[in-house]
């Protein structure tokens, strides 16, 4: 009712303000969308090279995608795709188990090591992640995971071993599930394990999906650890190193438009996953903040 009244009796001043606001939003939206449109157009560009005389492509072709998916000699993109897929499936399984286990223990169980663990996680989080990178490399080398196809195992370990520190969002979510549900189940004779697997997990589908997806995406978007571990072993490259390599001096002229094609191909599934899980993220955030 109030709304209706306001709409009908907009003062001229408010009309102008509204017009300005929408114009501003349009300009901003253009700034945010334009680079994305540009990269999509570039992926279909017929002329090679990173730099062209015109902002928009002169001709369009599908060849960039064809070359990216079929050329196996210089930068073997299909192989990189397979490497990354294998790594992310394994590391996703391990990370999901680690994150959910730790989050459940900290949320529901009470034990002496609980507080120290949470404090320790906070302190470890203040060290720059790259500080451990060199040392991790030496440790993996001592274990023999830095040569040939065992690099994959090394990468899986690097991506999943420390995920037990990233429990905050899941714990925040578990905290919001009423404890009375657990207590009722325990009264009926359920063990803690049964409460975890039969009650908490089914009730936490959003956060389980969120955890699975974030840990699945991680190997696709990390290139620093992958670069340090793979060094020159081009057989073991992941997609992110491949894309990064396409922009280096020796490849950029031939591969720039293919890079754009690769970027589009990688972004589509990740964008879809992101749009799907964005609400869980916001929920987890506000849950953790409130808790």
């Amino acid at each position: 009712m109030d709304n209706q009244m306001a709409k009908n009796t907009l003062s001229p001043r408010r009309r102008i303000v509204n017009l300005l606001v929408h114009a501003l939003l349009a300009v901003l939206a253009l700034i945010w969308v334009l680079p994305i449109v540009w990269i999509v157009l570039t992926s279909f560009r017929a002329e090679p090279g990173a730099y062209t005389k015109t902002f928009l492509p002169q001709g369009y072709t599908l060849n960039n995608y064809v070359k990216l998916l079929t050329d196996r000699n210089v930068l073997n993109f299909p192989k990189m795709f397979r490497n990354t897929l294998i790594i992310s499936i394994f590391s996703c399984t391990i990370s999901t188990f680690f994150v959910l286990s730790v989050a459940y223990s900290l949320s529901r169980m009470r034990f002496a090591f609980r507080r120290p663990y949470m404090n320790l996680a906070m302190i470890l989080g203040l060290f720059p992640g790259f500080m451990t990178m060199v040392a991790q490399y030496f440790i993996l080398k001592a274990m023999g995971f830095t040569e040939g196809s065992s690099i994959r195992i090394g990468l899986i370990v690097v991506y999943s071993a420390c995920t037990g520190l990233g429990f905050q969002i899941s714990k925040g979510f578990f905290d919001t599930i009423p404890r009375s549900i657990d207590e009722a189940a325990v009264m009926d004779g359920a063990t803690q394990w049964q409460v975890f697997t039969r009650i908490t997990l089914p009730l936490s589908k959003p956060i389980v999906i969120y955890t699975v997806m974030t840990s699945f995406i991680a190997p696709w978007v990390d290139f620093v650890f992958a670069k340090v571990l793979c060094r020159a072993n081009s057989d073991q490259f992941t997609v992110a190193i491949g894309l990064w390599n396409m922009l280096q001096k020796e490849y950029i002229y031939q591969w720039y438009t293919c890079f754009a094609a690769g970027a589009v191909l990688i972004s589509i599934p990740i964008a879809l996953l992101f749009l799907y899980m964005q609400r869980f993220y916001v929920e987890g955030m506000s849950g953790a903040v409130k808790g």
Binding site: P128, Q136, G164, V224
Partner: protein
């Protein structure tokens, strides 16, 4: 001192034969108190530990003070007509083995305390005539009352081996001469606090770079965190306005950019802003400029560009996160303010901002820490450049990217480790100070 408590000293003073023997022969207490499987396992661990110590452990500990002395030898073998190499010491491996041995000893001490207390507890159970849990009971409890042990053992092991050990190892490097400088890559020595002095000394070359990088890191983190926060909130509020049409469409436009992987966006931005990249081409075609703008080669311009691009990356993110919280602000607060005749600006500064700061303080601190350690943005956009001749740190390098360059590119491992420790110290101070002064810490109850 409570005499009934299960402590190590009580176990040693009041323990029976089995309990006391387990101070030397670990697991004996359990073996003697009807817990055969557990006792045998603990005993096995102790045997394995001493076997490790005898074969390599004591040797690595003994090598720790010197970190190895023997250089790799090269001798011409006249008969075979080849150079023969003798294996020399490798300080890096010696240091790693030493650190691992220290962790093994610490682990055994923990196990020793736990098993001693457990033996004493078992002894007391038997004395009081209660039944001792069988191995079946123990396994069962691992899925019930002790589920946390089952769930957290592997994650903790992962963190210990791939986070804590590497961290300690890296920290120990800060006190050595492990560096390409002076050819100390294979053999190096303990160096005390010399590297710290070098980094902190404002007159030296490294020290001058450190203070420059530190200043830029802090400026960057402040700009990146607060500009993103304020502008992202402003955007969310503009879209949330009652009179804004097509809210979903606007949100979608901005969220689209968050959905593209960050490293892809950043690499594209880097190319677009090159002298002959798309942005300069566009501006030249429009006739706005005649010479390309040197986005990455002018230090000041590179810094501004990085902050602006980070806004492009970060604003939609903030918008996403604060939209829900903004809608949670109690409407009565706004109505009361309007009744009192407060204008929109006053309402923002007196109600919206304080409320948001209260709710999102932990998020703000986390994002400040994240920005201090923001590797991707700098590394992919400017690569730390432009770099002055003779410097290892570029004009836009953060402490983390400098750390990366020092260790991976330059192999100055000791300096890299010092930089890492300094980053940690700075972050700890900033986090503690802001957190303790924030209203969410002072008043945990509620807003207002």
């Amino acid at each position: 001192m409570n005499e009934d408590r299960i402590t190590v000293s009580n176990a040693l003073r009041r323990g029976d034969l089995f309990t006391r023997v387990s101070a030397v022969l670990m697991g004996a207490g359990m073996l003697g108190h009807r817990q055969i499987v557990k006792g045998a396992l603990v005993l096995l661990v102790e045997v394995a530990f001493w076997a490790y110590m005898a074969t390599t452990g004591f040797h690595s500990l003994g090598m720790m003070p010197s970190l190895g002395t023997e250089a790799q030898g090269k001798v011409w073998n006249e008969a075979k007509q080849i150079f023969e190499y003798s294996t020399g010491d490798n300080s890096q491996q010696i240091l790693l083995a030493g650190v691992i041995t220290c962790f093994a000893i610490a682990g055994l001490v923990v196990l020793w305390v736990l098993q001693l207390r457990h033996s004493y507890a078992l002894q007391r159970l038997i004395e009081e005539g209660e039944s001792v849990p069988t191995i079946k009971d123990d396994v069962k409890s691992l899925f019930d009352g002790n589920l946390h042990v089952t769930l957290m053992t592997l994650p903790c092991l992962g963190i210990l081996v791939f986070n804590v050990v590497p961290l300690v190892y890296m920290i120990s490097m800060a006190f050595t001469t492990y560096s390409k400088e002076g050819e100390h890559l294979i053999l190096f020595d303990w160096d005390g606090l010399n590297q710290f002095a070098r980094v902190l000394n404002m007159n030296g070359n490294i020290g001058r770079q450190f203070w420059h990088v530190l200043a830029w890191t802090v400026i960057w983190a402040i700009f990146a965190t607060f500009l993103n926060y304020i502008l992202g909130m402003a955007l969310a509020m503009v879209i949330n306005r009652k009179d804004t049409k097509a809210k979903g469409f606007w949100r979608f436009c901005f969220v689209l950019s968050v959905a593209v992987p960050q490293f892809v966006t950043l690499m594209i931005m880097n190319i677009m802003l090159q002298p002959s990249g798309a942005v300069n081409v566009l501006l030249q075609n429009l006739g706005l400029i005649t010479e390309p703008i040197p986005f990455w080669t002018n230090a000041m311009l590179a810094r501004v560009t990085i902050i602006v691009i980070n806004l492009w990356v970060g604003i939609p993110y903030t918008m996403l996160q604060v939209t829900g919280i903004l809608q949670n602000i109690p409407a009565e607060l706004y109505e009361a303010a309007k009744m009192d005749g407060a204008g929109p600006v006053r309402i923002f500064f007196k109600i919206t901002l304080p409320y948001m700061l209260f709710v999102t303080m932990p998020y703000l601190i986390a994002s400040f820490v994240g920005n201090i350690n923001n590797f991707n943005v700098i590394y992919l956009l400017s690569g730390g450049g432009p770099t002055r001749v003779g410097d290892t740190a570029g004009q836009t390098d953060l402490l983390v990217t400098w750390l990366y360059k020092l260790t991976i590119d330059q192999q100055y491992y000791n300096l890299g480790a010092v930089i890492g420790i300094m980053t940690f110290v700075i972050l700890t101070v900033i986090t503690l100070v802001t957190y303790r002064n924030s209203s969410s810490y002072k008043n945990e109850e509620a807003f207002m």
